[in-house]
């Protein structure tokens, strides 16, 4: 409203100054917006809005809930007869193994946290298909912003157990250099921006990043068309940043796909306390690996059309796990409800049933996969635990591009403390000990 008022006033004044027939100019300007006997008026804020004489407020109840797109049912049986898998059986097996990898890593790390061997962990049980299904149809060059329950995209893009463990144990292999909490992964190689704890902040950033990709292609047509994918939970969608992100992505025509994981809970808050509308958006079943794939594939195509546009996908799931290792979810929901969801619907078993029906998977393969993945994870786990931490110096670096004078002085001051009180600090586990603090 503000920008329009400011822009229109000077324009109108300019028109008055130029035109000798002032009243005529004014009348013709007003007739532009409403012709005689017209049944609508083009308000600047709503073009072609028809008049009505019936006073009726819009209510969500007047509309049916958005349908939920699915491809196969919970027994792995294809319900959409037009559906044809667009990938090879080998590729499905690879992606299935990625999902199993994440679920096994979740179990191991959750327990490890309970034993006090790492400070924090968050599982993504029940949501493996959302991250891995969507990631598998995106281009590797597409840029991603995650919330924190998207381990699957890192796995799908090629992270190994070693890389996960490096971050989780904040050892010297951690790209984040031991600065962020566990599960706050990030990888330049995989084109996934580092995760930060504040919810929804990544969403307007995703819009901006998508605009950057669009500009870069406008300036150099040899650059491949790329999109940005941004993941978030239904709780994060209540933040102001979600509102800002979608609006700015639409007004600037940004090629961005917003993927909402609607799993029913934000920590303890059920969706009933989160919103009263019909969820977040156009939805699909987050359990159906192929539904997520199909939706993301179509979304990517649409996002790149007509110079770019944002697309929103709401993937319906259920958070079968606790929110994090700091949460006991049975304090606010019934155990039976969780068990019910686990039994009834699970993205991994659903895809497994489909694969078994197709004859590309069986019990023996399942056992072999689970054993070898478990072994790989445990091996990386014990190696990572023994690995040195990043040098203490890393705490001062990367605040600015260069160390400032203040930071150099503070680094020297810390070194003095460690020299003076060697008994008070344990520096052995940090690479280079206190010597890394030398200027």
């Amino acid at each position: 409203m503000k920008s329009r008022a400011l822009r229109h006033v000077p324009l109108r004044r300019a028109a008055l100054a130029k035109s000798p027939a002032v009243p005529f100019a004014l009348r013709s300007a007003s007739s532009l917006s409403q012709r005689p006997n017209s049944d609508y008026v083009s308000f600047p804020g709503a073009l072609k809005s028809a008049f009505t004489t019936s006073l009726r407020f819009e209510a969500p109840e007047s509309y049916p809930a958005l349908p939920t797109y699915r491809v196969v049912d919970q027994h792995g049986v294809v319900v959409d007869q037009s559906f044809q898998p667009d990938i090879s059986d080998e590729e499905v097996v690879r992606l299935y193994r990625d999902m199993v990898f994440i679920s096994i890593m979740d179990l191991i790390m959750f327990d490890a946290q309970r034993q006090g061997r790492l400070s924090f962990y968050m599982v993504s049980a029940g949501e493996e298909a959302v991250s891995i299904g969507s990631s598998s149809v995106l281009d590797r060059e597409d840029v991603m912003f995650c919330q924190y329950r998207e381990q699957g995209v890192f796995k799908e893009r090629g992270w190994t157990a070693k890389e996960f463990m490096g971050q989780l144990f904040a050892n010297k292999r951690d790209p984040g250099r031991g600065r962020s909490m566990p599960v706050h992964y990030g990888s330049k190689e995989l084109n996934i921006h580092s995760i930060s704890s504040p919810l929804a902040t990544q969403l307007p950033q995703a819009s901006g990043a998508a605009y950057a990709l669009k500009m870069q292609r406008l300036q150099d047509p040899n650059v491949n068309p790329r999109v940005v994918a941004a993941y978030f939970g239904e709780g994060a969608a209540s933040e102001g940043d979600f509102h800002a992100a979608l609006n700015i992505a639409a007004t600037r025509s940004c090629p961005v796909i917003f993927i909402c994981r609607n799993n029913g809970y934000a920590i303890s808050t059920p969706t009933l306390d989160q919103y009263r509308g019909d969820g977040i958006a156009s939805r699909g079943i987050g359990y159906v690996f192929f539904a997520v794939r199909e939706a993301t594939k179509k979304a990517r195509e649409m996002a790149l059309q007509d110079g770019g546009k944002p697309v929103l996908i709401e993937a319906m799931t259920y958070r079968v796990s606790h929110h994090s290792t700091s949460d006991d979810s049975f304090a606010y929901r019934a155990r039976v409800e969780v068990e019910d969801w686990k039994r009834r619907d699970n993205p991994i078993t659903r895809l497994r049933k489909w694969m078994e029906a197709k004859g590309i998977w069986d019990e023996a393969k399942e056992k072999e996969a689970r054993d070898s993945l478990r072994k790989e994870i445990l091996k990386a786990f014990s190696e990572a635990e023994r690995e040195k931490k990043p040098p203490i110096r890393a705490m001062f670096e990367d605040v600015y591009e260069e160390l400032t004078d203040d930071l150099k002085a503070q680094m020297a001051e810390l070194k003095d403390m460690l020299d003076k009180y060697p008994e008070e600090y344990d520096v052995a586990e940090y690479e280079g000990g206190k010597d890394s603090l030398k200027p």
């Binding site: 409203m1 503000k2 920008s3 008022a5 400011l6 822009r7 000077p10 840029v143 951690d174 790209p175 984040g176 250099r177 600065r179 962020s180 706050h184 990030g186 990888s187 330049k188 921006h193 580092s194 930060s196 704890s197 504040p198 902040t201 969403l203 307007p204 950033q205 995703a206 819009s207 901006g208 990043a209 998508a210 605009y211 950057a212 990709l213 500009m215 870069q216 406008l218 300036q219 940005v228 102001g240 940043d241 509102h243 800002a244 992100a245 609006n247 700015i248 007004t251 600037r252 890393a394 990367d398 605040v399 600015y400 591009e401 400032t404 004078d405 203040d406």
Partner: protein
Amino acid sequence: MKHRAVHQLKRALAPAAIGTSTVRIPPSVRRSYSTHPPNARLNLPVDYATTPLLAHSSQAALSSKELPEDVRNGPTKKMNLFQAINDAMGIALAEDDSVVVFGEDVAFGGVFRCTMKLADTHGADRVFNTPLTEQGIMGFGIGLAAEGMRPIAEIQFADYVYPAFDQLVNEAAKFRYRDGSCGRSVGGLTVRMPCGGVGHGGLYHSQSPESLFTHIPGLRVIMPRSPAQAKGLLLAAIRSNDPCVFMEPKILYRAAVEQVPTGAYELPLSKAEVLKEGKDVTIISYGQPLYLCQSAIKQAEKDLGISVELIDLRTVYPWDKQTVFESVRKTGRVMVVHEAMVNAGIGAEVAAAIQEDPDTFLRLEAPVARVAGWSIHNPLIFEKFHLPDVARIYDNIKRVLDY
């Protein structure tokens, strides 16, 4: 409501508006906004046309040793602050395809005219309006910068930056740190915002929140005092690989006019400038209050037969401690002047650092004085009693000397 206030400010900032009006305004009503008490000797309006802090000749503009050789041998042009800022952004847009300019109402030129003609010249893809959302603007800028662009985001008034605080504090400032060895940052980001008192901005068109930003590691916080300085510092901020908060004293947009070199040049960030050498007192300030300091110094030197050193911090964080310490070691007496509230303001940090440095502490002959806004909000009709003025600065020079 916000938009109405913008109109008022624009009208007030246009100097000719009242003079050409045919409406007869009783003189007593006019005085309350535009003039000074009849017998005032100290609190006179700043005469920007003669102040030595502005380069009134081409020669003065080109004398700075900080300018590169080709710029020093080049032409200058008379510009006010908004024109110099416009010039800097025009240069940045022309020399680097990755620069984009956006914010509320920037496409038609901006409510303060800082982005005039930039959209016409560089295209609607690179200079554009955003929806009215500060958190959106900041997040969008961070995303652009994260993908290698050099966004210049505008927040219409510094008073409205708070919705974007989370994005600035938790995201922009920490982006490089948390990305670690991946090496990505949002260093290309520059956030411009008009700040400071303008005589009648009330609670939400007057604020100087710089010290809130100086408490955030990872950001560079800059406030220029003049057109030539604004151009050089803004270009440095745009080219800097750290996210920069660039605060523009809006009262100077039209008032401060000087000769500005037309070439492209940078002035160093985190480097203070000694504007005037002296031996008895050091005054440290930045932005518009420097002009008030200059007026107070002129009177104090005349009345008291002393000499005062005046330092412009230019970058308030990370700030140039060495220049300040050296000056204070020489004069032994020091005061810090700024508009923002005295508590936990820039003055608090500068004063603490001065007493913390052993060599400087030993040379102190008087307590460090802070002349700043009182610990209140900026009240509409009381502003002249609230923000530091020439009389308060003058009085504090005397107090520091008399200690």
